[in-house]
Protein backbone atom coordinates (compact mmCIF):
# COMPACT_ATOMS: atom_id res chain seq x y z
CA UNK A 1 0.00 0.00 0.00
CA UNK A 2 1.33 3.48 -0.82
CA UNK A 3 0.54 6.74 0.94
CA UNK A 4 -1.39 9.23 -1.24
CA UNK A 5 0.37 12.51 -1.95
CA UNK A 6 -2.56 14.57 -0.61
CA UNK A 7 -2.27 12.83 2.80
CA UNK A 8 1.47 13.53 2.89
CA UNK A 9 0.89 17.19 2.01
CA UNK A 10 -1.71 17.40 4.81
CA UNK A 11 0.71 15.90 7.32
CA UNK A 12 3.51 18.17 6.09
CA UNK A 13 1.36 21.29 6.65
CA UNK A 14 0.39 20.07 10.11
CA UNK A 15 4.07 19.63 10.95
CA UNK A 16 4.32 23.44 11.26
CA UNK A 17 2.19 23.08 14.42
CA UNK A 18 3.85 19.91 15.70
CA UNK A 19 5.02 21.61 18.91
CA UNK A 20 1.59 23.08 19.68
CA UNK A 21 0.97 20.85 22.69
CA UNK A 22 4.61 20.56 23.81
CA UNK A 23 4.82 19.25 27.36
CA UNK A 24 7.39 17.79 29.74
CA UNK A 25 5.88 14.28 29.72
CA UNK A 26 5.39 13.34 26.07
CA UNK A 27 7.32 16.26 24.49
CA UNK A 28 5.86 16.49 20.94
CA UNK A 29 4.05 13.12 21.17
CA UNK A 30 0.54 14.54 20.78
CA UNK A 31 1.76 16.94 18.07
CA UNK A 32 3.25 14.04 16.14
CA UNK A 33 -0.07 12.16 16.27
CA UNK A 34 -1.85 15.37 15.19
CA UNK A 35 0.50 15.72 12.20
CA UNK A 36 0.13 12.02 11.26
CA UNK A 37 -3.70 12.11 11.25
CA UNK A 38 -4.16 12.71 7.47
CA UNK A 39 -1.85 9.78 6.67
CA UNK A 40 -3.35 7.45 9.28
CA UNK A 41 -6.92 8.33 8.26
CA UNK A 42 -6.10 7.31 4.68
CA UNK A 43 -4.17 4.15 5.52
CA UNK A 44 -6.74 2.85 8.01
CA UNK A 45 -9.86 4.15 6.22
CA UNK A 46 -11.58 0.75 6.29
CA UNK A 47 -10.27 -0.31 9.73
CA UNK A 48 -11.55 2.12 12.40
CA UNK A 49 -10.26 0.14 15.37
CA UNK A 50 -6.75 -0.07 13.96
CA UNK A 51 -6.97 3.64 13.17
CA UNK A 52 -7.73 4.47 16.81
CA UNK A 53 -4.92 2.20 17.97
CA UNK A 54 -2.44 3.79 15.56
CA UNK A 55 -3.35 7.34 16.67
CA UNK A 56 -2.99 6.35 20.32
CA UNK A 57 0.40 4.76 19.65
CA UNK A 58 1.66 7.97 18.10
CA UNK A 59 0.66 10.13 21.08
CA UNK A 60 3.44 8.45 23.11
CA UNK A 61 6.64 10.34 23.90
CA UNK A 62 8.50 11.59 20.83
CA UNK A 63 11.01 14.30 20.13
CA UNK A 64 12.51 15.89 17.06
CA UNK A 65 13.70 19.27 15.97
CA UNK A 66 10.52 20.85 14.54
CA UNK A 67 12.10 21.55 11.14
CA UNK A 68 13.26 17.92 10.82
CA UNK A 69 9.96 16.45 12.04
CA UNK A 70 8.73 16.03 8.41
CA UNK A 71 11.60 13.53 8.03
CA UNK A 72 10.08 11.36 10.76
CA UNK A 73 6.58 11.93 9.36
CA UNK A 74 7.67 10.81 5.86
CA UNK A 75 9.52 7.73 7.09
CA UNK A 76 6.76 6.73 9.55
CA UNK A 77 4.13 7.15 6.79
CA UNK A 78 6.05 4.68 4.63
CA UNK A 79 6.51 2.27 7.56
CA UNK A 80 2.84 2.48 8.63
CA UNK A 81 1.89 1.39 5.09
CA UNK A 82 4.31 -1.54 4.93
CA UNK A 83 5.40 -2.72 8.39
CA UNK A 84 3.76 -3.97 11.61
CA UNK A 85 3.27 -1.47 14.51
CA UNK A 86 6.20 -2.87 16.52
CA UNK A 87 8.64 -1.90 13.75
CA UNK A 88 7.21 1.64 13.63
CA UNK A 89 7.61 1.94 17.41
CA UNK A 90 11.22 0.75 17.31
CA UNK A 91 11.99 3.10 14.45
CA UNK A 92 10.58 6.11 16.31
CA UNK A 93 12.59 5.28 19.42
CA UNK A 94 15.74 4.93 17.33
CA UNK A 95 15.52 8.25 15.43
CA UNK A 96 14.10 10.64 18.01
CA UNK A 97 17.48 11.42 19.59
CA UNK A 98 19.25 11.99 16.25
CA UNK A 99 16.51 14.22 14.85
CA UNK A 100 16.61 16.41 17.94
CA UNK A 101 20.39 16.72 18.18
CA UNK A 102 20.95 17.22 14.47
CA UNK A 103 18.46 20.10 14.28
CA UNK A 104 19.75 21.69 17.47
CA UNK A 105 23.32 21.69 16.18
CA UNK A 106 22.65 22.79 12.62
CA UNK A 107 19.67 25.10 13.02
CA UNK A 108 19.35 26.48 16.55
CA UNK A 109 23.12 26.76 17.07
CA UNK A 110 24.08 27.32 13.42
CA UNK A 111 21.78 28.67 10.73
CA UNK A 112 19.57 30.80 12.99
CA UNK A 113 22.31 32.75 14.80
CA UNK A 114 24.14 33.29 11.50
CA UNK A 115 21.01 34.82 9.92
CA UNK A 116 20.45 36.96 13.02
CA UNK A 117 24.06 38.17 13.05
CA UNK A 118 23.60 39.21 9.41
CA UNK A 119 20.48 41.14 10.43
CA UNK A 120 22.40 42.80 13.28
CA UNK A 121 25.18 43.74 10.88
CA UNK A 122 22.59 45.37 8.64
CA UNK A 123 21.31 47.37 11.64
CA UNK A 124 24.83 48.48 12.56
CA UNK A 125 25.49 49.52 8.95
CA UNK A 126 22.36 51.67 9.00
CA UNK A 127 19.91 49.64 6.89
CA UNK A 128 16.24 50.57 7.18
CA UNK A 129 13.88 48.53 9.38
CA UNK A 130 12.11 47.09 6.33
CA UNK A 131 15.37 45.83 4.80
CA UNK A 132 16.56 44.34 8.10
CA UNK A 133 13.35 42.59 9.14
CA UNK A 134 12.19 41.71 5.60
CA UNK A 135 15.63 40.48 4.57
CA UNK A 136 16.01 38.38 7.72
CA UNK A 137 12.56 36.79 7.47
CA UNK A 138 12.98 35.96 3.76
CA UNK A 139 16.51 34.58 4.13
CA UNK A 140 15.70 32.55 7.23
CA UNK A 141 12.42 31.13 5.98
CA UNK A 142 13.82 30.12 2.60
CA UNK A 143 16.21 27.93 4.61
CA UNK A 144 13.48 26.92 7.10
CA UNK A 145 10.85 25.83 4.58
CA UNK A 146 13.50 24.36 2.26
CA UNK A 147 14.73 22.21 5.18
CA UNK A 148 11.21 21.00 5.94
CA UNK A 149 10.51 20.05 2.30
CA UNK A 150 13.90 18.31 1.98
CA UNK A 151 13.32 16.49 5.29
CA UNK A 152 9.95 15.11 4.17
CA UNK A 153 11.39 13.84 0.89
CA UNK A 154 14.43 12.38 2.65
CA UNK A 155 12.20 10.55 5.15
CA UNK A 156 9.98 9.11 2.41
CA UNK A 157 12.97 8.07 0.30
CA UNK A 158 14.91 6.32 3.05
CA UNK A 159 12.09 5.06 5.29
CA UNK A 160 13.42 2.40 7.63
CA UNK A 161 17.06 3.16 6.70
CA UNK A 162 16.75 6.76 7.88
CA UNK A 163 18.76 6.30 11.09
CA UNK A 164 21.63 4.71 9.18
CA UNK A 165 21.56 7.48 6.53
CA UNK A 166 21.55 10.21 9.18
CA UNK A 167 24.65 8.76 10.80
CA UNK A 168 26.48 9.19 7.47
CA UNK A 169 25.21 12.77 6.84
CA UNK A 170 27.91 15.47 6.40
CA UNK A 171 26.93 17.21 9.66
CA UNK A 172 30.46 18.14 10.75
CA UNK A 173 31.21 19.85 7.45
CA UNK A 174 27.97 21.84 7.48
CA UNK A 175 28.52 22.79 11.09
CA UNK A 176 32.04 23.97 10.28
CA UNK A 177 30.76 26.27 7.51
CA UNK A 178 28.01 27.70 9.74
CA UNK A 179 30.30 28.17 12.72
CA UNK A 180 33.02 29.85 10.66
CA UNK A 181 30.44 32.22 9.13
CA UNK A 182 29.09 33.03 12.59
CA UNK A 183 32.54 33.76 14.02
CA UNK A 184 33.41 35.91 11.00
CA UNK A 185 30.24 37.96 11.53
CA UNK A 186 31.01 38.36 15.25
CA UNK A 187 34.45 39.60 14.22
CA UNK A 188 32.96 42.17 11.81
CA UNK A 189 30.40 43.34 14.35
CA UNK A 190 32.65 43.65 17.40
CA UNK A 191 34.74 46.72 16.40
CA UNK A 192 31.65 48.46 15.05
CA UNK A 193 29.61 47.88 18.22
CA UNK A 194 32.58 48.74 20.45
CA UNK A 195 32.85 52.01 18.55
CA UNK A 196 29.24 52.72 19.51
CA UNK A 197 27.41 51.90 16.27
CA UNK A 198 24.52 52.46 15.80
CA UNK A 199 23.87 54.20 19.15
CA UNK A 200 26.60 56.79 19.42
CA UNK A 201 29.60 57.94 17.46
CA UNK A 202 31.41 59.22 20.53
CA UNK A 203 32.94 56.22 22.33
CA UNK A 204 36.06 57.40 24.12
CA UNK A 205 39.26 55.26 23.99
CA UNK A 206 38.68 54.34 27.64
CA UNK A 207 35.19 52.96 26.94
CA UNK A 208 36.51 51.18 23.83
CA UNK A 209 39.34 49.56 25.81
CA UNK A 210 37.01 48.53 28.65
CA UNK A 211 34.63 47.01 26.10
CA UNK A 212 37.44 45.14 24.35
CA UNK A 213 38.72 43.69 27.65
CA UNK A 214 35.26 42.62 28.78
CA UNK A 215 34.63 41.11 25.34
CA UNK A 216 37.78 39.05 25.65
CA UNK A 217 36.58 37.79 29.01
CA UNK A 218 33.14 37.01 27.54
CA UNK A 219 34.77 34.98 24.76
CA UNK A 220 36.05 32.62 27.44
CA UNK A 221 32.88 32.62 29.56
CA UNK A 222 30.40 32.02 26.73
CA UNK A 223 26.78 31.66 27.85
CA UNK A 224 27.84 32.11 31.49
CA UNK A 225 28.47 35.80 30.69
CA UNK A 226 24.77 36.52 30.08
CA UNK A 227 23.43 36.62 33.64
CA UNK A 228 26.32 38.72 35.09
CA UNK A 229 25.87 41.20 32.19
CA UNK A 230 22.12 41.44 32.80
CA UNK A 231 22.68 41.89 36.54
CA UNK A 232 25.42 44.50 36.01
CA UNK A 233 23.19 46.46 33.62
CA UNK A 234 20.32 46.29 36.13
CA UNK A 235 22.62 47.44 38.95
CA UNK A 236 23.81 50.41 36.86
CA UNK A 237 20.21 51.38 36.09
CA UNK A 238 19.28 51.18 39.78
CA UNK A 239 22.35 53.28 40.66
CA UNK A 240 21.27 55.79 37.98
CA UNK A 241 17.82 56.00 39.53
CA UNK A 242 19.23 56.55 43.02
CA UNK A 243 21.63 59.16 41.63
CA UNK A 244 18.76 60.93 39.88
CA UNK A 245 16.57 60.86 42.98
CA UNK A 246 19.35 62.32 45.14
CA UNK A 247 20.32 65.13 42.77
Amino acid sequence: MTVPRSALVGSFLRSFAIQGSWNYRTLIGCGFAFAMLPVLRTLYAARPEEYQAAVQRHTAIFNSHPYLSPMAIGAVAVLEATEPPAVVERFKSAVRGSLGTLGDRLIWAGFRPVCLLLALLAVVLGASWAVVVGGFLVLYNVGHIGTRVWALRYGIRHGRRLGEKLRGAPVERLQFVLQSSGVFLIGVLLPLVLAGRPLTGRMTPLWFAAGALLSLLAMRLGGAARMPTVLALTAVVLAGLVLGALS
Binding site: Q19, W22, T59, I186, V193, T234, V242
Partner: protein
Protein backbone atom coordinates in the same frame (compact mmCIF):
# COMPACT_ATOMS: atom_id res chain seq x y z
CA UNK B 1 -3.11 52.74 21.43
CA UNK B 2 -4.85 49.94 19.64
CA UNK B 3 -4.78 47.38 22.42
CA UNK B 4 -6.54 44.80 20.28
CA UNK B 5 -3.83 44.99 17.60
CA UNK B 6 -1.12 44.80 20.28
CA UNK B 7 -2.80 41.78 21.86
CA UNK B 8 -3.12 40.04 18.50
CA UNK B 9 0.52 40.72 17.71
CA UNK B 10 1.45 39.41 21.17
CA UNK B 11 -0.55 36.24 20.53
CA UNK B 12 1.18 35.66 17.19
CA UNK B 13 4.62 36.31 18.70
CA UNK B 14 3.88 33.99 21.64
CA UNK B 15 2.68 31.24 19.29
CA UNK B 16 5.59 31.58 16.91
CA UNK B 17 8.20 30.92 19.61
CA UNK B 18 7.28 27.24 19.97
CA UNK B 19 3.77 26.27 18.91
CA UNK B 20 3.27 27.54 15.37
CA UNK B 21 4.95 28.12 12.86
CA UNK B 22 8.42 29.10 14.17
CA UNK B 23 9.10 31.52 11.32
CA UNK B 24 11.06 33.74 13.70
CA UNK B 25 8.42 36.43 14.12
CA UNK B 26 9.17 35.84 17.79
CA UNK B 27 12.79 37.01 17.54
CA UNK B 28 13.21 40.29 19.48
CA UNK B 29 14.54 42.08 16.39
CA UNK B 30 11.32 41.23 14.52
CA UNK B 31 8.73 41.45 17.31
CA UNK B 32 10.05 44.79 18.62
CA UNK B 33 10.14 46.28 15.10
CA UNK B 34 6.59 45.12 14.35
CA UNK B 35 5.42 46.59 17.66
CA UNK B 36 7.21 49.84 16.84
CA UNK B 37 5.40 49.78 13.50
CA UNK B 38 2.05 49.60 15.34
CA UNK B 39 3.02 52.86 17.06
CA UNK B 40 4.34 54.43 13.87
CA UNK B 41 7.96 54.15 15.05
CA UNK B 42 9.48 51.03 13.49
CA UNK B 43 13.04 52.42 13.61
CA UNK B 44 12.82 52.85 17.39
CA UNK B 45 11.46 49.30 17.66
CA UNK B 46 14.30 48.00 15.49
CA UNK B 47 16.97 49.63 17.65
CA UNK B 48 15.50 48.20 20.86
CA UNK B 49 14.93 44.83 19.16
CA UNK B 50 18.53 44.67 17.93
CA UNK B 51 19.83 45.33 21.44
CA UNK B 52 17.58 42.66 22.91
CA UNK B 53 18.51 40.27 20.10
CA UNK B 54 22.16 40.16 21.19
CA UNK B 55 20.98 39.04 24.63
CA UNK B 56 18.58 36.49 23.12
CA UNK B 57 21.13 34.90 20.77
CA UNK B 58 22.59 32.93 23.67
CA UNK B 59 19.25 31.36 24.58
CA UNK B 60 18.99 27.99 22.86
CA UNK B 61 15.80 25.92 23.04
CA UNK B 62 17.57 22.57 23.29
CA UNK B 63 15.41 19.63 24.39
CA UNK B 64 13.34 20.41 27.47
CA UNK B 65 15.44 23.44 28.47
CA UNK B 66 13.64 26.19 30.41
CA UNK B 67 14.50 29.64 29.18
CA UNK B 68 13.29 33.25 29.31
CA UNK B 69 10.87 34.27 26.58
CA UNK B 70 12.51 37.10 24.68
CA UNK B 71 9.96 37.65 21.87
CA UNK B 72 6.93 38.73 23.90
CA UNK B 73 9.08 40.73 26.36
CA UNK B 74 10.70 42.58 23.44
CA UNK B 75 7.23 43.43 22.09
CA UNK B 76 6.09 44.61 25.54
CA UNK B 77 9.21 46.77 26.01
CA UNK B 78 8.98 48.16 22.46
CA UNK B 79 5.38 49.17 23.09
CA UNK B 80 6.36 50.90 26.34
CA UNK B 81 9.38 52.60 24.71
CA UNK B 82 7.50 53.74 21.61
CA UNK B 83 4.56 55.03 23.62
CA UNK B 84 6.38 56.93 26.37
CA UNK B 85 9.43 58.56 24.79
CA UNK B 86 9.14 61.54 22.52
CA UNK B 87 12.55 61.26 20.93
CA UNK B 88 13.78 58.20 19.08
CA UNK B 89 17.32 58.91 20.25
CA UNK B 90 16.48 58.98 23.93
CA UNK B 91 19.11 56.48 25.07
CA UNK B 92 18.21 56.76 28.74
CA UNK B 93 14.72 55.46 28.01
CA UNK B 94 16.26 52.86 25.69
CA UNK B 95 18.49 51.58 28.51
CA UNK B 96 15.51 51.46 30.88
CA UNK B 97 13.44 49.62 28.26
CA UNK B 98 16.24 47.06 27.72
CA UNK B 99 16.51 46.36 31.45
CA UNK B 100 12.72 46.12 31.73
CA UNK B 101 12.60 43.62 28.84
CA UNK B 102 15.36 41.50 30.40
CA UNK B 103 13.33 41.30 33.62
CA UNK B 104 9.98 40.72 31.91
CA UNK B 105 11.35 37.86 29.81
CA UNK B 106 11.78 35.85 33.03
CA UNK B 107 8.09 36.25 33.86
CA UNK B 108 7.05 35.49 30.27
CA UNK B 109 9.31 32.41 30.40
CA UNK B 110 7.56 31.26 33.57
CA UNK B 111 4.22 31.56 31.77
CA UNK B 112 5.55 29.22 29.06
CA UNK B 113 6.43 26.61 31.71
CA UNK B 114 2.95 27.00 33.20
CA UNK B 115 1.21 26.37 29.85
CA UNK B 116 3.44 23.34 29.24
CA UNK B 117 2.19 21.92 32.53
CA UNK B 118 -1.39 22.54 31.37
CA UNK B 119 -0.53 20.75 28.11
CA UNK B 120 0.54 17.68 30.11
CA UNK B 121 -2.97 17.46 31.53
CA UNK B 122 -4.54 18.17 28.14
CA UNK B 123 -2.74 15.43 26.22
CA UNK B 124 -2.63 12.71 28.87
CA UNK B 125 -5.45 13.52 31.26
CA UNK B 126 -5.23 12.36 34.86
CA UNK B 127 -3.11 9.37 35.88
CA UNK B 128 -4.72 6.12 34.78
CA UNK B 129 -7.19 7.71 32.34
CA UNK B 130 -7.76 6.28 28.86
CA UNK B 131 -5.45 7.44 26.03
CA UNK B 132 -6.91 10.11 23.76
CA UNK B 133 -9.18 9.03 20.91
CA UNK B 134 -8.36 10.23 17.38
CA UNK B 135 -10.85 13.12 17.39
CA UNK B 136 -9.67 14.22 20.83
CA UNK B 137 -6.05 14.48 19.61
CA UNK B 138 -6.95 17.29 17.20
CA UNK B 139 -9.22 19.05 19.69
CA UNK B 140 -6.70 19.01 22.54
CA UNK B 141 -3.80 19.94 20.32
CA UNK B 142 -5.66 22.93 18.87
CA UNK B 143 -6.83 23.92 22.35
CA UNK B 144 -3.20 23.94 23.54
CA UNK B 145 -2.31 26.22 20.59
CA UNK B 146 -5.21 28.50 21.53
CA UNK B 147 -4.03 28.68 25.14
CA UNK B 148 -0.52 29.59 23.99
CA UNK B 149 -1.94 32.38 21.81
CA UNK B 150 -3.85 33.85 24.76
CA UNK B 151 -0.75 33.52 26.96
CA UNK B 152 1.36 35.42 24.42
CA UNK B 153 -1.26 38.16 24.10
CA UNK B 154 -1.44 38.66 27.87
CA UNK B 155 2.35 38.56 28.27
CA UNK B 156 2.59 41.48 25.83
CA UNK B 157 -0.44 43.44 27.09
CA UNK B 158 0.41 43.21 30.80
CA UNK B 159 4.11 43.78 30.07
CA UNK B 160 3.25 46.78 27.93
CA UNK B 161 1.11 48.41 30.63
CA UNK B 162 3.65 47.72 33.34
CA UNK B 163 6.56 48.85 31.16
CA UNK B 164 4.81 52.10 30.29
CA UNK B 165 4.09 52.84 33.91
CA UNK B 166 7.69 52.12 34.93
CA UNK B 167 9.18 54.16 32.06
CA UNK B 168 6.93 57.12 32.85
CA UNK B 169 8.05 57.06 36.47
CA UNK B 170 11.76 56.29 36.00
CA UNK B 171 12.68 58.15 32.77
CA UNK B 172 12.40 61.71 34.22
CA UNK B 173 14.37 60.84 37.36
CA UNK B 174 17.10 58.76 35.68
CA UNK B 175 20.51 60.06 36.75
CA UNK B 176 22.74 58.84 33.89
CA UNK B 177 23.00 61.10 30.89
CA UNK B 178 22.12 60.16 27.33
CA UNK B 179 25.71 59.58 26.19
CA UNK B 180 26.64 57.32 29.13
CA UNK B 181 23.46 55.30 28.60
CA UNK B 182 24.35 54.80 24.91
CA UNK B 183 27.91 53.74 25.79
CA UNK B 184 26.67 51.28 28.41
CA UNK B 185 24.34 49.69 25.89
CA UNK B 186 27.12 49.45 23.29
CA UNK B 187 29.44 47.86 25.85
CA UNK B 188 26.82 45.30 26.93
CA UNK B 189 26.05 44.55 23.28
CA UNK B 190 29.71 43.90 22.49
CA UNK B 191 30.08 41.63 25.55
CA UNK B 192 27.02 39.60 24.52
CA UNK B 193 28.28 39.28 20.95
CA UNK B 194 31.69 38.10 22.16
CA UNK B 195 30.10 35.54 24.48
CA UNK B 196 28.64 33.81 21.42
CA UNK B 197 32.09 32.63 20.36
CA UNK B 198 32.10 29.32 22.32
CA UNK B 199 28.78 28.45 20.63
CA UNK B 200 30.63 28.52 17.31
CA UNK B 201 33.59 26.40 18.41
CA UNK B 202 35.59 28.83 20.58
CA UNK B 203 38.57 31.09 20.09
CA UNK B 204 41.21 28.40 19.55
CA UNK B 205 39.29 26.52 16.90
CA UNK B 206 37.95 29.57 15.03
CA UNK B 207 40.65 32.22 15.44
CA UNK B 208 41.15 32.67 11.68
CA UNK B 209 37.55 33.63 10.74
CA UNK B 210 37.44 35.81 13.88
CA UNK B 211 40.61 37.63 12.92
CA UNK B 212 39.40 38.06 9.32
CA UNK B 213 36.11 39.44 10.63
CA UNK B 214 37.87 41.83 13.02
CA UNK B 215 39.99 43.17 10.14
CA UNK B 216 36.91 43.62 7.93
CA UNK B 217 34.96 45.30 10.76
CA UNK B 218 37.83 47.65 11.50
CA UNK B 219 38.14 48.54 7.81
CA UNK B 220 34.42 49.33 7.62
CA UNK B 221 34.78 51.46 10.75
CA UNK B 222 37.65 53.53 9.34
CA UNK B 223 36.31 53.82 5.80
CA UNK B 224 32.68 54.62 6.64
Amino acid sequence: VNWLALGLLGGVVGLDATSFPQMMLSRPIVSATLTGLLFGRPAAGLLLGALLEVFALLILPFGAARYPESGTSAAAAASAYAATTDLVNNHQALLLAVVFALAWEQIAGASVIFTRRINERLVRGREGSEPLAADQVSQRHLLAIGIDFVRGAWAVLIGSMLGRMLLRITDPMFGLNDEVSARLLALAGAVMLASLLPLFGGLRARWLPLLTGLVCGSLILFLA
